[in-house]
Amino acid sequence: MSERLRLTVFAAGVVGFGAVLVWGLAGLPSFGDFDGRYGQYLAHAAVPERHATSAVAVTTLDFRGFDTLIEEFILFTAAVGVVVLLRVQRAGEEVPAEPDAVRRPTAHSGSLRSVITALVGPFLLLGLAIVVHGHLTPGGGFQGGVILMAALFLVYLGGTHMRLGPLRPLAATEASEGVGAAGFALIGLGGIVVAGAYLENFLPFGRVSNLVSGGDIPLLNIAVGLEVMGALLVVLGEFLDQRLLMRKGRL
């Protein structure tokens, strides 16, 4: 294809795309003009019907809880996929504990390490707060779970060793991922048993804006938090093990 022909095709594409884009933009509702009935209903129903002040949490974990269940399992499946791929590569070989060989050559700066280590506690607290307040304020299991994962990851970043040993219990992170994913599904089953429909909110709603309110929404947030934290830690752990193997020249 000559350059001239290519430019002609490109110009035709730009003109066509621009025309359709302008046409589409001209038909958009004006700024801030929302005409979704479902959205209006959810925004008004959250507090009186579920006693939870975060309308987003009520929508994602209660009215549309089934969507969130499937989203949670997407992350679960992705993490399992990474684990399966990376573990096949090393073919059952255990990462050996060699304290000298696996000392990190980087992170020399003592002050940087101190700052990172000092951040572990605040990050843990922030993550927990965002998970358990998910039904009251913006946030929830997903956001809090990632922050919790970051808190535990800081332990690695601030340390001097590649291998965390007891600080990175693989069994515990895998259990956290599994318990979180299964917990969400089981709470949904509780809805069938007690209230007659899957993921139906079956716990007492409590008083509006209390920490214990919103029925099963806080429990679902905790389940999502455990699942997200566990899944991300498992994936990160696999990447770290890969680096250990690389350093030994096995990969």
């Binding site: 913006p138 956001q143 990632v146 922050i147 970051a150 990447f239 990969l251």
Partner: protein
């Protein structure tokens, strides 16, 4: 539209362009992280704090970190290949 919203929109437009213009993948991951933060500010300015929080943890922290890990692995493997050749 308020001034904050307009400023956030402009920051996002510049951020997206900067991500595309950054050629070195490692640097691009960092620029993408800053762009992710700009997007979070945009969502906050448009009254979507939940989405802003998700955007911070995914776009500004999670995605760049994963890109850096993957790059690390690819670069290391290229070095090994070169030594073997």
């Amino acid at each position: 539209m308020t001034a904050v919203q307009i400023a956030a929109l402009i920051a996002v437009a510049f951020g997206g362009t900067a991500v595309v213009l950054a050629r070195d993948p490692a640097r691009q991951a960092l620029v993408a992280s800053v762009y992710g933060l700009a997007l979070a500010v945009l969502f906050l300015a448009f009254q979507a704090p939940d989405v802003a929080l998700s955007q911070i943890v995914v776009g500004a922290v999670g995605l760049p970190a994963m890109i850096m890990f993957a790059l690390r692995k690819i670069i290391r493997r290229e070095e090994v290949d070169r030594e073997e050749r």
